[in-house]
Symmetry: C2
Subunit: 320 residues, 2 copies
């Protein structure tokens, strides 16, 4: 069944996602109202995903939503913010099926509930090109305490959450380009690519503890490079310390050149942060992978013997 009324669509599928947010005004007004919690300021971030660029063009609605919600929540996590809500813009291809929009909204409902992250408003339009979705996400941080990229200090340790490289290897798995590995490993990696696990609770626990934080969406070397340049420090990275999943480990043992995907591939949505120590009781493993040192701003990646490793491509760039 096709779609013939955007207002009916909003009422039927999207208005339920605004539950718990009176400022959303039932998605009936020109705008929503929002205030930070007592003693807090709002953190605002915006992320766009494009069909065929950020996800495979034939991706299921549930996975499109995962990429969209995951990447925005990951940006909030990197600032140490508690999610508050979001606005959503959907530019749908004109021939979109009503079932696909319903599935999209339904999948989004799982995320709004899991993260207490209601829909506050947005815009629904059609496009003659491919689908484009944008979220503007809002979170709270204690006033003046949002974690920035520019606070890394010489002497800090450099930490990452979870495991790296699964996103880039997972894209290959989703494209059926890793047929030499087991079905289980293919499924694990493709899921890691498709369904980001934003590190929201770790991010919140980093407030007052981490000096700098970023989420690794464009590749470890590039994203740590942003921290190094913004903080005017050098980051000394021990390649052998980078945490790998069992599946990624098995691939790299037989194809060592694929380590470049771990260093420079996108879509990991893990946090990288610098500071003197890690929070207690995190819900995900945290690994020290290097040190903040004095020197020209940038990232120095070292092999086990201490020698510098040349990194050909540092990360994803939309216009490269």
């Amino acid at each position: 069944m096709g779609v013939n009324d955007e207002f009916d669509l909003i009422h039927q599928y999207f208005e339920p996602l605004s539950a718990g947010a009176p400022g959303a005004r039932g998605l009936l007004d020109d705008a929503a109202t929002l205030s930070p919690s007592q003693g807090c300021e709002l953190v605002v971030t915006m992320d766009t995903v494009v069909a065929g660029v950020h996800y495979l063009a034939d991706e299921k609605p549930t996975n499109i939503v995962a990429k969209l919600m995951g990447s925005n929540l990951s940006d909030l996590a990197a600032m140490g913010a508690t999610p508050r809500g979001f606005t959503l813009s959907c530019a749908w291809p004109k021939d979109i099926e009503r079932d696909d929009i319903q599935a999209f909204a339904h999948a989004m409902g799982d995320w709004t509930q899991a993260y207490s992250f209601p829909l506050l408003g947005g815009d629904t339009v059609t496009t003659t090109g491919n689908a484009v979705f944008t979220i503007c996400a809002f979170g709270d941080t204690p006033l003046g305490k949002a974690i920035s990229r520019n606070g890394a200090k010489v002497g800090d340790d450099v930490y990452v959450t979870g495991s790296l490289g699964d996103g880039a290897l997972g894209l290959l798995a989703a494209q059926k380009k890793l047929s030499e590995i087991s079905e289980d490993d293919q499924t694990y990696l493709a899921d890691r690519y498709r369904v980001p696990q934003p590190r929201v609770s770790v991010g919140q626990s980093l407030i007052g503890l981490a000096n700098a934080c970023i989420d690794i969406s464009d590749g470890l070397i590039q994203d740590l490079g942003h921290v190094a340049h913004a903080s005017n420090v050098q980051i000394d990275l021990q390649i052998s310390a980078i945490p790998l999943s069992d599946a990624a480990n098995r691939i790299i043992e037989s194809n060592p050149e694929m380590m470049s995907l771990v260093l420079s591939g996108g879509d990991d949505y893990e946090l990288a942060f610098t500071g003197p120590s890690v929070p207690d009781n995190c819900d995900v493993p945290i690994t020290c992978i290097g040190k903040v040192v004095d020197g020209d701003p940038g990232v120095m990646a070292r092999a086990t013997d201490g020698s510098l490793v040349e990194i050909a491509k540092s990360g994803y760039n939309h216009f490269a």
Copy 2:
């Protein structure tokens, strides 16, 4: 010259647009920080424009920016909000020229300065389809005082700012479909279509005075219908009272059937509001076009003799 570095692009062209907003963090972080002014809450709205849908596919960057900024500021105006800043998502076609991005950012700078409306952050991506731009706009209103669509009261007068129908007639003029009218009228109308004049200062002066307000972006009948349904009232509209520009008036005198564009055409970006009176000293003419009455929710459009006029198409709907 093509584009080969999104970070260079952001730094060179977009970072200057964040001047005056320390919370934008120089566009270097994962997110911006924002708090409402003392005694205020934030009003949040989101609008998307798509090449070939919301503006002509070969439109100049300066006019794309006008549509984008104008439509978002108009939504803030409808809530009575004072503009504070915005986040911007640009999905550029992969073959975009650097000069076009520069012209886009330059044009945006005129709006950020004119409305003290700085860029706070956003996302820059590429698409294999047509360009899609989304803004999430933030404004301040005194706590609990944002003007809603749902407050219209029986007995209120219904007012509109400026003149109506110029947007829809201007689209025809921009498409060179109104060759029978003078060059001056064509230029005037095409400009009205291309460059919305958001009624920001009128909107601010409506706080505490208007009971309901909406901006007329999808057509007068449809947008007043939203007010009527949200407020559970009937709106009695006197068609002859609708203010027309001289150019629109000349067209309708010789083509009375084009009055349907005035009633149902989009892109006017004027405000419609209900209340007992109008603010003093507005910077744009305000006209009473009807009355809020008791009755089934909806809009009754009347001819001079009081008879009801049937409206075939009430306004723009993306999926219709």
